[in-house]
């Protein structure tokens, strides 16, 4: 039986009459990478936020390393331990990083909180190396960095606590094509070097192919298809997955036909 870094069992969350997440289950093997694909309103971000703990599920549970992840904990030590289970990288690092704190201070602060009483200099250097940032970037503040560099900082900060799972919510969506490719490659490299597992939330089927082993497709709060990434993208079985695949622009693309298919689905 494989060991799982993360399991979700029957997650459900409603807002009024709307079931944003409706009985969602998935499992992420240790060091694995699972994509959640869907459009706005599919419930993929709410699912991610439940896993991280930013939202509460009405029903269902999240397991990390086989143990139930508490929805709220008391006490500093337990809160920090909980934070080391799952870390999150957001879409826009300019909003998730403190504009007044230099890159090195961000990392030192995080390391100081989780691993007090150590010399963090070598670890800071290692983290910067790992995400491909030089010493010049270490002194910069988020405002002085490019979008790609900022996302590298956000990844380094999340990796600093050595989490079991990294939740990446549209983490490359706001980047330019050439920078996006750099970050996608970086994510693949980091997974080879460390034991971290990814939960990769995206609407981009191309990006999901690059960094995930398995994928679930969500629509209107439910999982409509699940399987290995190559299988799901190579021979999609659910009509909605097929519609998503057909919607990606490529030679011979016929937007009018897709619009028609969308109306009938």
């Amino acid at each position: 039986m494989p060991e799982y870094a993360l399991q979700a069992v029957g997650l459900t969350r409603s807002y009024g009459a709307v079931r944003a997440v409706d009985g969602v289950s998935f499992a992420l093997p240790k060091g694995g990478s699972l994509g959640i694909v869907g459009e706005s309103g599919s419930g993929k971000t709410t699912t991610a936020r439940i896993v991280v703990g930013l939202e509460q599920a009405d029903a269902g549970e999240v397991l990390v390393g086989g143990a139930r992840r508490a929805s709220a904990v008391r006490g500093r030590a337990r809160r920090l331990a909980r934070a080391r289970e799952v870390q999150m990288v957001f879409q826009d690092p300019l909003q998730s990083l403190d504009p007044r704190t230099s890159v090195e201070s961000v990392l030192r602060e995080t390391l100081g909180l989780h691993f007090p009483g150590r010399d963090h200099t070598p670890r800071v250097r290692e983290l910067l190396d790992q995400v491909g940032l030089g010493p010049r970037a270490a002194d910069a503040r988020p405002g002085g960095l490019s979008g790609g560099q900022r996302q590298r900082v956000a990844i380094a900060r999340a990796l600093a606590v050595e989490p079991a799972v990294l939740v990446l919510d549209e983490a490359v969506a706001a980047l330019d094509v050439s920078v996006q490719a750099q970050i996608l490659n970086l994510l693949a490299d980091i997974r080879e070097q460390t034991a971290v597992g990814y939960l990769f939330i995206t609407h981009d089927l191309g990006a999901v192919r690059c960094v995930t082993d398995d994928v679930i497709v969500m629509r209107q709060g439910r999982v409509v298809e699940a399987g290995s990434t190559s299988e799901v993208l190579g021979s999609p079985r659910h009509p909605y997955t097929r519609l998503l695949m057909d919607s990606v622009p490529r030679p011979g693309w016929d937007p009018a036909r897709i619009a028609e298919a969308r109306r009938t689905l």
């Binding site: 050439s178 490719a181 996608l184 490659n185 190559s230 490529r250 619009a259």
Partner: protein, 335 residues
């Protein structure tokens, strides 16, 4: 209807010639000699990454320039240079001849006014159309874009993003434009909604014979919907040509690299061919080719001399600004 053949300047909905824009506090031109045309009824895509100057180029057609901008060159819209016309003419141009569809409809449409007011205000303010006719026309256009006319009474917050983008397209058509500028109109939308909005834009563009300049960072999207594509890098046109040719046989290393670094769902799994480094900063001057520092083909000449935009020997419509473009066509032919 006049039967005389259109003159050169009237043939083009948009003709940009040698456009240079200098901004205060930068070391080089933000736009550095851009030439671009959109013929009447043609769909042209302008592709580039952030900071390449694609948005600046498209906005120049409306005479919308950043504060303190110094310009050189011409931007002719249906034969009239928008960089050199009276404020009154410019206003008329903006309400009629040229229309723009922005990326984020929620940011571009006043949330405190009803959608109906937003649709009719442009044409009624200039006094060319009365309120009743304008409202009737707005209702028709909403039907054309697949939105129920009852939306006229609603506020922007009461409709979805995809629907609001269609409202923006209807608004753009209110003044019967000759030139439609669409700046990343589908970037904020889901893929299936993107397909729907693109299908709509193409249908309307054909039906109204409008020239369409489609600004995007998505090369695959550009290649599938447009007749011709311009690729911009650091304020210059790196390559231009028929969409299918540029896609199948790129002649500039930047275009080739962009195509290779685009993640595609049907490509084999594995690493992407990412382009190292990033575009040159506006605080640095450029002596040679702007892409030289990131280019696998770069040699000494690339750092010393800026390459001219030259046509391919056998395909005059396909132009690239690269000293080593022959090397690129040869290597892709081998592969």
């Amino acid at each position: 209807m006049s039967t005389t053949p259109p003159t050169d300047s009237e043939k083009y909905a948009l003709q940009v010639q040698g456009l240079r824009i200098t901004l205060p506090g930068t070391a080089r031109n933000v736009l550095d000699g851009v030439d671009l045309t959109v013929a009447a009824g043609e769909t042209v895509a302008l592709v580039g990454e952030s900071g390449s100057g694609k948005t600046l180029t498209s906005r120049s057609a409306l005479g919308l320039l950043p504060p303190g901008a110094l310009t050189e060159g011409r931007v002719d819209v249906v034969g009239e240079d928008v960089l050199d016309i009276s404020a009154e003419r410019l206003r008329a141009l903006r309400t009629g001849t040229v229309a723009m569809i922005f990326q984020d409809p929620r940011a571009a449409i006043n949330p405190l006014r009803r959608i109906g007011d937003f649709l009719v205000e442009g044409v009624t303010l200039t006094g060319s159309v009365n309120q009743a006719d304008a409202t009737a026309r707005a209702g028709e256009l909403l039907q054309d874009v697949g939105v129920d006319p009852s939306v006229l009474r609603k506020y922007p917050s009461q409709v979805s993003g995809g629907m609001l983008q269609r409202v923006m397209i209807a608004a753009a058509l209110m003044g019967d434009p000759s030139l439609l500028l669409a700046d990343e109109p589908t970037t904020a939308l889901d893929v299936t909604t993107q397909a729907e909005v693109v299908a709509l834009l193409i249908r309307l563009q054909q039906c109204f014979a409008t020239g369409l300049l489609f600004v995007t960072h998505d090369l695959d999207l550009a290649a599938t919907i447009s007749d011709r594509v311009y690729v911009m890098y650091a304020g210059r046109i790196a390559e231009s040509g028929p969409a299918d040719e540029l896609f199948a046989r790129p002649r500039h290393p930047y275009t080739a690299a962009l195509l290779a670094s685009t993640p595609r769902p049907d490509a084999p799994a594995g690493r992407l061919a990412a382009i190292d480094g990033r575009p040159p900063d506006l605080r640095t001057t450029l002596t040679g080719c702007a892409f030289a520092a990131r280019c696998p083909l770069a040699t000494e000449v690339c750092e010393q001399r800026q390459p001219d935009l030259r046509p391919a020997p056998d395909r005059p419509g396909h132009r690239a600004a690269c000293h080593h473009t022959e090397q690129l066509t040869r290597s892709s032919a081998d592969a």
